[in-house]
Symmetry: C2
Subunit: 297 residues, 2 copies
């Protein structure tokens, strides 16, 4: 058996079509959607990733501003940049890109991102709202997993999903998105031993730990669907996921590739979220709209 490849490209295309509709609606309001990415590193891989977000935004008609504070930026400087951008009417989406300089913790700073502009779901308030089922942006990577599964019509309700990884960026928000879709979810991590105890019966396995080859065919139930969130750069420069693709493909029915899977969808979601934030932030008050609709044309 060789597993079906769940490519990210057609999923991203569908999301870009949605973005296009939003950009047109915003243009009608005279609004140019704006995304700001705050960067404080000279890590080449990170800067490459930020440029890829900027390119995707640009292609979609979303203005992307990279606020580069340099690898020597301090926590206060970053916090005040986020506060200023939160108040800036021309900015509708804000991302704080990691890694940050040594000693600067992202998890304290993200509270300075206005929840309405928190397009990568980093502020704890966004995570809390997601948990209780209120409106909030989910972290783009977590949502990308669900978008791929839904695009390929893989049912979630009543299924057992094993999420390997408990990060605040992927594992924990993904759990909320899966529970909302009536999946039964097991959250595994480095202390879950043996790992196959928690993955071998699951219909869907999501690997989101950041360890190359952690999940192999031996961890899977025949016919399982596998989503690989890992993006690990090997010493030789190769990009690989958390799943060992050869053995997994022998057992799984479907598998997302790395690269070309989750990452492709994540970038498209960041741009889509920015247009959704812009629509919400520039919405006319309900009373004004009600008045308009009562005015005879």
């Amino acid at each position: 058996m060789t597993a079906l490849q769940l490519l990210g490209k057609p999923v991203a295309q569908q999301l870009r079509a949605e973005t296009e509709t939003n950009v047109a609606a915003l243009r009608h309001r005279g609004v140019l959607p704006g995304l700001a990415v705050v960067v404080a590193t000279d890590n080449e891989a990170t800067l490459w990733y930020v440029r890829s977000i900027a390119r995707a935004a640009d292609k979609a008609g979303v203005r992307c501003t990279v606020v580069d504070l340099g690898a020597g930026a301090g926590a206060e400087e970053i916090a005040s940049a986020l506060t200023l951008l939160s108040a800036d009417e021309d900015v509708h989406g804000i991302i704080l890109q990691t890694p940050l300089p040594p000693g600067v913790a992202a998890d304290e700073l993200v509270a300075h991102i206005s929840a309405a502009k928190d397009v990568d779901g980093a502020n704890p308030l966004s995570l809390g709202r997601l948990t209780v089922g209120q409106q909030a942006f989910a972290p783009a990577t977590a949502r990308a997993v669900v978008e791929i599964l839904e695009h390929y019509e893989i049912p979630l309700a009543g299924r057992h999903v094993s999420v390997v990884g408990r990060s605040a960026v992927v594992g924990k928000p993904l759990l909320q998105l899966l529970l909302r879709r009536d999946a039964t979810v097991t959250v595994c991590h480095s202390r879950s031993r043996p790992l196959e105890r928690y993955t071998a019966e699951a219909e869907i396995v999501v690997a989101a730990v950041g360890r190359p080859g952690l999940v192999t065919g031996a961890h899977l139930r025949p016919g399982a669907v596998v989503v690989d969130v890992g993006t690990n750069v090997l010493d030789n420069g190769d990009l690989v996921g958390d799943v060992e693709p050869l053995s997994a493909a022998e057992v799984a029915s479907a598998l997302t590739p790395v690269p070309g899977g989750v990452g492709t969808v994540t970038t498209a979601l960041l741009v889509l979220h920015t247009t959704q934030a812009a629509l919400q932030l520039t919405e006319e008050p309900a009373s004004a709209r009600a008045l308009e609709s009562r005015t005879p044309s």
Copy 2:
């Protein structure tokens, strides 16, 4: 085999000792800790529960104010009560008691409880902070489960815990507390069928759904530890949990009773949290303390 009873009483006693220490420290600062419970119902069971909280607070030297807005209160009235209490220097803990009047949703109102006074972890911001590992009060019922397990020295790290119930009040915050203690956690719910698929291998099963007798011996692995969060009032007035105690006790190694288990601990935690909030809210700034410690006596 008959399961050991995991009584709440000794756990509550230990928490009350901690509360006593806090109250003494607050007295030293000239602070009387204050808890406010906002009520908008004439449901007799609820009012009885609120009186039991007030009694527990009173015994511990914590002033409890019941703000009874009546069964006809509207959302705005409740929101402004919560906002006023959040600004009141004599109030250190705030609880919004459910049920609320028909058409009034608690989940929108709890955002008006200051996170620093949110002693029952109801504000989405508290849930988000709990998720990312920042300081926040956990919902008292969720924390009560963990307090009982830790009191009876039941290990959590590396164990499989199956949580039946995905509410924002118990299941979801409990999951965070368990993950932080390195348990592997499965969250089950009404769409998890058959339920025993997700409970029969777990070392610990927590039932938090609100359905009498949902979990029976047939759902359990021999020797499992079972925590019953359910508090269901039957037509004949009896209070029963979500676990069928006779069959469960035949298979489990330990089981919390209802009543006398989780509920007993929950009330003690609400009072303890109020004293912890009072300590944090009335703490002298670090600089002032540093200065003091340098002053020779």
